[in-house]
């Protein structure tokens, strides 16, 4: 098993190398290249521009630049953000927890609702419940996530005013930005209050992501369960006189969950995309907000960092999905 995981990880190295080359060359193709942010800045003198170009090594051949960039990335030096004046790594690491929190909450809610709904739909096929959920999952799947987020924001935060409009915390209460040292000490002193504060803020963005996810996953679960219900071994189990409950849960559900777990694992990139979209609506201080902010300023180093980190996340989640599949399916053995 360890060998299989190692092999799978090794296979992703060339892909990531190609991704890095593509990103690097792609950035150079942009008119103005990495200096695009300063290209039309009238307040910057030619000499100052030349100085920056020289200091960042942008006057060297692109192959040299790429090797330099790659080695410094591998050594953990992800350069400085053009505008924030902080190391890119620090910026990304400080925004990752908020995204992870949002994705995690949405994921748990989504699976807790979608899987039972899908199972029940399959067991009571064509019932009123099945048809209603099917209709809503089609609609949920077709709704643009960002619009759904805006509608939720309008209904619950503007018209009814029961939930906060944006952010991850109430600054009037905490007095410091999320995950700053001051915030952490405050949180240490007010654990319950702080958790409730975050919980209030996470409801809207997490349910926005979860609604789309429920639409997709309940369909998966329903289809997989329906497949299993018609298998011969189900009939055999019933013929043996097993109670219906045991037949459905032990013989049916266990087998039906196999393909579902894989497809759920492969959905992590989708979840990440959903989080990015939702963050930009609710000003959630995560990776999405960081990226679109960097894009507005054309913060070249920061964008490269975020793009690369998200590529790594996608590749890793694919490996994890493959490995879980190998772990849970007894029919597959990887030496």
């Amino acid at each position: 098993m360890v060998g299989y995981i190692a092999r799978r990880l090794l296979q992703s190295v060339p892909t990531l190398l190609l991704v890095s080359i593509l990103l690097f060359v792609g950035m150079q193709l942009i008119p103005g290249g990495p200096m695009q942010a300063f290209a039309f800045n009238p307040r910057m003198s030619l000499a100052a521009r030349e100085a920056i170009i020289h200091r960042w090594g942008l006057d060297q051949p692109i192959s040299v630049q790429y090797i330099k960039w790659l080695t410094s990335m591998l050594q953990g030096d992800w350069q400085y953000s053009f505008f924030a004046g902080r190391p890119v790594k620090e910026l990304i690491l400080s925004h990752l927890p908020a995204t992870a929190l949002l994705m995690g909450t949405a994921y748990i809610v989504q699976e807790a609702l979608a899987l039972p709904a899908g199972i029940y739909q399959a067991l009571r096929r064509y019932s009123l419940f099945d048809q209603v959920v099917t209709f809503f999952s089609y609609v949920g799947y077709s709704m643009p996530t960002f619009w759904l987020g805006l509608m939720m924001l309008m209904i619950f935060a503007v018209i009814f005013r029961i939930l906060p409009v944006s952010g991850v915390e109430d600054l009037n209460v905490t007095g410091a930005p999320f995950l700053s040292p001051d915030y952490n000490t405050w949180f240490g002193q007010h654990v319950l209050q702080g958790t409730l504060d975050i919980a209030r803020h996470v409801i809207l963005p997490a349910s926005t992501i979860a609604i789309v996810g429920i639409a997709v996953d309940s369909r998966f679960m329903r289809a997989s369960m329906l497949d299993v219900l018609h298998q011969d071994y189900m009939r055999t189990a019933r013929a043996k006189g097993l109670p219906e409950r045991t037949v459905v849960l032990k013989h049916g559900l266990r087998n039906a969950l196999l393909p579902v777990i894989t497809s759920i694992g492969l959905q992590v990139p989708l979840l990440f995309s959903g989080a990015i979209v939702t963050e930009s609506i609710f000003s959630w201080p995560g990776m999405g907000q960081l990226f679109f902010g960097a894009l507005t300023d054309f913060d070249y180093t920061l964008m490269m960092g975020i793009l690369f980190v998200s590529a790594v996340l996608v590749v890793l989640s694919n490996v994890v999905a493959d490995v879980t599949y190998a772990l849970i399916d007894p029919r597959i053995s990887y030496a």
Binding site: P14, M143, P144, F146, L150, V314
Partner: protein, 314 residues
Amino acid sequence: MLDPRTVTVPADLPEFAESGEVAVKQFNFRELTVRRFKRHPTAKWALLVLGIIFAACYGSPIWHLLLPGWFQGLGDFTLADREQAPSLKHLFGTDQFLGLDIFSQVLYGGRLSLYIGLGSMVIATAIGVSLGAIAGYFGRWLDAVLMRVTDVFLTVPVLLTIPLASKVFGHADPTTLMVIFGLLSWQSIARIVRSTFLSLREMQFAEAARALGVGPMRIIFRHLLPNSVGPIVVAFTLGVANNIVLEAFVSFLGFGLAPPIYSWGSIISNAQGDLINGNWWWITFPGLMITTTVLCINFIGDGFRDALDPKIVE
């Protein structure tokens, strides 16, 4: 491909009956597909609704000529009419800036949203089919190289690269935006075509064509491609739906189209600032329009999937 249960035998055909032969109406693949598509419960209605949306959007200049006072052009507005709730005169209400009728905006804007969604997938399909066909048919190192490239494009989230490219190259130009969307959304089609070609090229009819000395290009386009139309059509429809939503999002963020160029996304982008005043209509209707369109496209995609799948027999 021919399903015996959908083949009908006409009851009275005397001249054949006399000679002892049975005439069988043979449906070709296209006729079969159309019949099955029509039998799909929702696809037919979805096609009708989508047709109405298309006609309504692309007919906007005509509606403007026919009902000049009611269906406004994007230039004629009344400032006194700002922030009106939906009424008979303004079906979807009016906006906050100029008092423009939102119903008119949505129909005018739909033209660009649909144009970008469809056009980008035409480009993406052309790229995806060519790359997938080459990789699947020729195999070996070409396959390895092309699929690594596809992997790379699959690895970086499109949601990040498309806004980036749109901001840099396509600002406020629908056609450039369409090309950017097309250039970045061919990956899944390339994969699908490659995998069908891998199995199709080993089939006996391909073998026979090769034995007859048919060239690779002709085999690819005349023999293999028609057999992989089903999955391509399905991926195409899903891609159109995706790109309509993505265009709206990119424009919403301010990296795509912006007024005075109207698309569904740019209308929502405008409306966002007014959200806090509780003017629900400005943001609701363009979004409902996107949802309806995408829902119809998804239903049609489902219909095609069932109609083109030879394994499904009703």
